[in-house]
């Protein structure tokens, strides 16, 4: 089955069987490997991408459901919010192993796009679906707050 979608601004025609997770199209076919496989059941958030601007777990998003959609992966981040988030992530030395961080950043960009000045409770609630086994959580919280400051400046 052919699916038409835009990935990072580029129009693509993808040939994949219905039921194929968007994650594996992105990783194995398009070879955009910044989006990670962590659990396959939407329980860890490592595979988070933006579908029409909304943070979405690509491992539980099937290819037929993104026909006509615009998908952004970590490689395609360009917005002012995204740059602020990435800058804040570096400033706060958030990463450890780094494997979950693409997903963390995609979620954080989603949060700050929706709510430029989230409270700690709002950050914890919004980011609850993104697992970090290295437990970088308090730096993630601090970096989201820092990105919010950068955006305000």
């Amino acid at each position: 089955m052919a699916t038409n979608l835009k990935v990072n601004g580029k129009a693509l025609n993808v040939e994949a069987a219905p039921g194929t997770p968007l994650l594996w199209v992105i990783r194995d076919e398009l070879q955009l490997t910044g989006t990670k496989f962590g659990c396959g059941v939407a329980a860890c958030g490592a595979c988070t991408v933006h579908v029409n601007g909304e943070p979405t777990r690509s491992c539980q998003t099937f290819i037929e459901d993104v026909d006509g959609a615009s998908v952004t992966t970590i490689e395609g981040l360009e917005s002012k919010v995204a740059k602020a988030v990435q800058t804040a992530w570096v400033e706060k030395n958030v990463v450890q192993c780094g494997y979950c961080q693409s997903g963390q950043i995609m979620s954080a960009v989603g949060l700050l796009t929706e709510n430029a000045k989230p409270s700690v409770e709002q950050i914890d609630e919004y980011m609850a679906g993104n697992v970090c086994r290295c437990a970088t959580y308090q730096r993630i919280r601090a970096a989201v707050q820092r990105a919010s400051e950068i955006l305000e400046a």
Binding site: A43, R133, C134
Partner: protein
């Protein structure tokens, strides 16, 4: 592959690397390219390269699983070389057990919180050697005295001259490696100890460009997954792959020669996962572990209630301990149980084997080249020199990527060999494989009886431990298991720094077909929980403050005890111990030495109207000698605390009729962002040589939480807490 980790280097991109790779100069290698004389002493090994464009590249013998070695080792080189940290690119060392061995193990590999501990002198010397050789080359070119020149910020300056170090790279590489190097005095450090250091892996890991083993995609590669026996020790009886043939991309399926599973090949990962689901396998469980974890738990608890297999503390006298207990004014007796745990690194296990003209390349976030390399050679029947290892970033490990059997490397080698060895084979584990695939922190039971005299002083400590030894029967047994006693089963108890009179330690091994492994902080992951819970219970029974009581057992004046007492006092002071916590809150304290470092923590909790516990704050104090990168030390404490507390709160691996119950994260719920509201870490200033930080943050965390919960709440001695009466908000 050189990784340009600075923004500038990153923009320069891979093209520059490719162009210069062939003509890189290696500092620390003599003109013939052979190792300098002191190779065995480990002082002058090729850890520094300089490209013709002047780019300095640090060669890292330790892989990066998040612990910060890419920053730490690079800091050591940059400090002595005289260059800004941001101006050094990094490259993981090839598999070479002579040049790149871990000086703590005598073989190449990362673990045991040793990366900075074993490299501190070696990497500084490598940087200093490069500095001396560059200055020597510049002095010769300028016809001035080397002693008149300095190297700072990458510039060689003096005697009226100044030039970037890169101008002398070619000439310097031809010079002999100096023997007597002057290393900086700590007062001269600019980078070591700098709290504002930016991690070298920040940029690739925030842009999605960091390459992990899961990201390897080679031309013509096929993906292999394994349908493993659902019970440990089970074997394949028959395979029916009929239903898989309908799946687009499925290649074939074949039972492994070990009969432990069925290899499923496909053109891509998703097809491989689907095909595996479709394949039907009949198993032989006659030699498998068929028990449930409840039976194993009962067996372990029974074992600590009877005479132990081994007297595990040299010089201990059970009869004397019994007599002292009989004569005690009060006896505190408690059983503990700590369940099986999986490591569950964020990146599921994976590696790729690529054929070359006469050998193979292993692409892997390779934690233990000294194990993986010979394992591949044995399975593939290749001479070791025909095997290369391309080390990539590893998405966490916590011990899992290094096993004593090199398990997933052996699997990949079998998968490669059985596919015909003509195309790259990428072995992929799913999260289900990861959680149900073994190599767990084994379960342990403890039973402790502590006798107190009328003044509340300890007079006897009878400590029984039962569990599966992780080293028995492995290639490393000779180093760790003595007379049947695996030191890692009892570490943290038999060698406790408390002055415990009349301590007896009994050990009973319970070996099972369930594969055990080291898990972040190894034996300390279970023993610290018991020791530090008991110390609180004993202090309570004695009617004493838990901090003051501990300090009384750490006062004989030795340096070890002083450092342990030091972190205890620092954590207590920073947490406001001694001033009552806010209404509705309580605090618990714990301290433990592991991997040569000393860590104390105070956990503060609150309870909501339903009594559910919320972790409000963790105050941590660490003494790890010189903190090379203080912010990374803090990050490792945060990580160790989160990992320790997260598992203690709600994780366990259990078995029903030998089959693992937990299949994916919803059943093995990881720590999440809202679980711990804040962590603050304080580092004890020190001039001692640096010691580990990757693991030592973990051991005190769970007992400190249990001790906080026990104030005005139940004493939890069976883990995980949420299965034993504790609700978390």
């Amino acid at each position: 592959m050189t990784m340009h980790t600075s923004r500038r280097g990153f923009l320069k991109g891979a093209a520059a690397t490719a162009a210069t790779a062939a003509t890189v100069f290696t500092i620390g290698v003599n003109p013939q390219g052979a190792l300098a004389a002191a190779a065995d002493g480990g002082n002058f090994t090729p850890f520094v390269k300089i490209a013709p464009d002047g780019q300095v590249i640090a060669i890292l013998k330790h892989f990066e699983m998040g612990e910060g070695t890419t920053t730490g080792l690079t800091t050591l080189i940059a400090e002595e070389l005289g260059i800004n940290l941001d101006d050094v690119d990094i490259e993981f060392a090839p598999s070479d057990n002579t040049r790149y061995k871990n000086l703590a193990f005598g073989m190449q590999g990362t673990g045991g919180s040793t990366a900075i501990f074993n490299s501190f002198q070696q990497y500084r010397q490598a940087g200093a050697a490069a500095r001396e050789m560059l200055i020597g080359a510049a002095a010769a070119a300028w016809n001035v005295k080397a002693s008149d020149l300095t190297l700072d910020n990458g510039l060689i300056t003096g005697a009226g001259n100044s030039a970037p170090l890169g101008e002398f790279a070619a000439a310097a590489a031809k010079r002999p490696v100096p023997e007597n190097l002057r290393l900086k005095d700590p007062s001269e450090f600019k980078l070591i100890g700098n709290p504002d250091t930016s991690r070298r892996d920040n940029v690739p890991k925030t842009t999605g460009t960091a390459q992990f083993a899961m990201d390897v995609h080679l031309d013509g590669q096929i993906v292999a997954v394994i349908k493993r026996s659902p019970r440990f020790g089970g074997t394949v009886k028959s395979v029916d792959a009929g239903a898989a043939s309908k799946i687009a991309g499925f290649v074939n399926a074949v039972a492994m020669p070990t009969k432990t599973g069925v290899l499923v090949y496909a053109k891509n990962t998703w097809a491989a996962f689907q095909a595996r689901e479709a394949i039907k396998v009949e198993w032989d469980f006659s030699k498998a572990e068929n028990r449930s974890s409840e039976e194993i738990k009962a067996t372990l608890l029974a074992a600590v209630d009877t005479d132990p297999e081994y007297n595990a503390k040299e010089g201990a006298d059970l009869a004397a301990t019994r007599t002292a207990l009989d004569g005690a004014a009060k006896v505190i007796e408690q059983e503990f149980y700590l369940p099986y745990l999986a490591h569950a690194p964020m990146e599921p296990l994976t590696c790729t084997i690529e054929p070359t003209a006469d050998g193979v390349v292993l692409h892997d976030g390779c934690q233990f080249p000294a194990g993986a390399h010979p394992a591949l050679a044995a399975v593939l029947k290749l001479p070791p020199e025909k095997i290369r290892i391309n080390t990539l970033y590893a998405g966490g490990s916590f011990g899992r990527r290094a096993t004593m059997t090199a398990d997933y490397h052996v699997e990949a080698a079998i998968a490669f060999a059985m596919s015909g060895g003509k195309r790259p084979v990428k072995l992929v584990w799913s999260r289900e494989d990861d959680l149900s695939g073994g190599y767990y922190r084994p379960a342990y039971a403890h039973k402790v009886r502590v006798g107190l005299d009328a003044r509340g002083r300890i007079v006897a400590w009878d400590h029984r431990i039962a569990g599966q030894s992780i080293f028995t029967g492995t290639a490393f047994a000779a180093a760790v298991v003595k007379n049947g006693i695996d030191r890692t089963s009892i570490e943290g108890v038999y060698d406790s720094l408390y002055d415990i009179p009349g301590q007896f330690v009994g050990l009973t091994n319970l070996q099972t077909p369930i594969t055990p492994n080291w898990w972040r902080s190894v034996g300390h992951s279970q023993t610290a929980f018991v020791m530090e819970s008991m110390m609180d219970m004993v202090a309570e029974a004695a009617g004493r403050d838990p901090l003051a009581y501990r300090l009384e057992y750490l006062n004989h004046g030795g340096k070890d005890q002083q450092r342990l007492a030091g972190v205890l006092k620092l954590a207590a002071e920073k947490a406001g111990w001694g001033t009552p916590p806010a209404k509705g809150r309580s605090r618990g304290i714990a301290v433990h030495k592991s991997f040569r470092s000393y860590v104390a923590q105070v956990v503060e909790i609150s309870r909501n109207a339903d009594g559910a516990v919320k972790i409000e704050n963790v105050v941590c104090a660490v003494d790890c000698g010189i903190a090379v990168n203080p912010d990374i030390v803090k990050a490792q404490m945060e990580g160790g605390i989160g990992y320790g507390i997260g598992h203690a709160m709600r994780d366990e691996i259990t078995f029903e009729n030998g089959e693992v119950v937990q299949q994916n994260f919803p059943d093995y719920e990881p720590l999440r962002i809202g679980d711990i509201a804040a962590i603050e870490t304080h580092i004890v200033p020190s001039a001692e040589a640096p010691t580990g930080v990757g693991e030592p943050g973990l051991p005190p965390s769970a007992p400190a939480l249990a001790n906080a919960i026990a104030v005005g709440g139940p004493r939890v001695t069976m883990l995980p807490m949420n299965k034993h009466g504790i609700a978390f908000a």
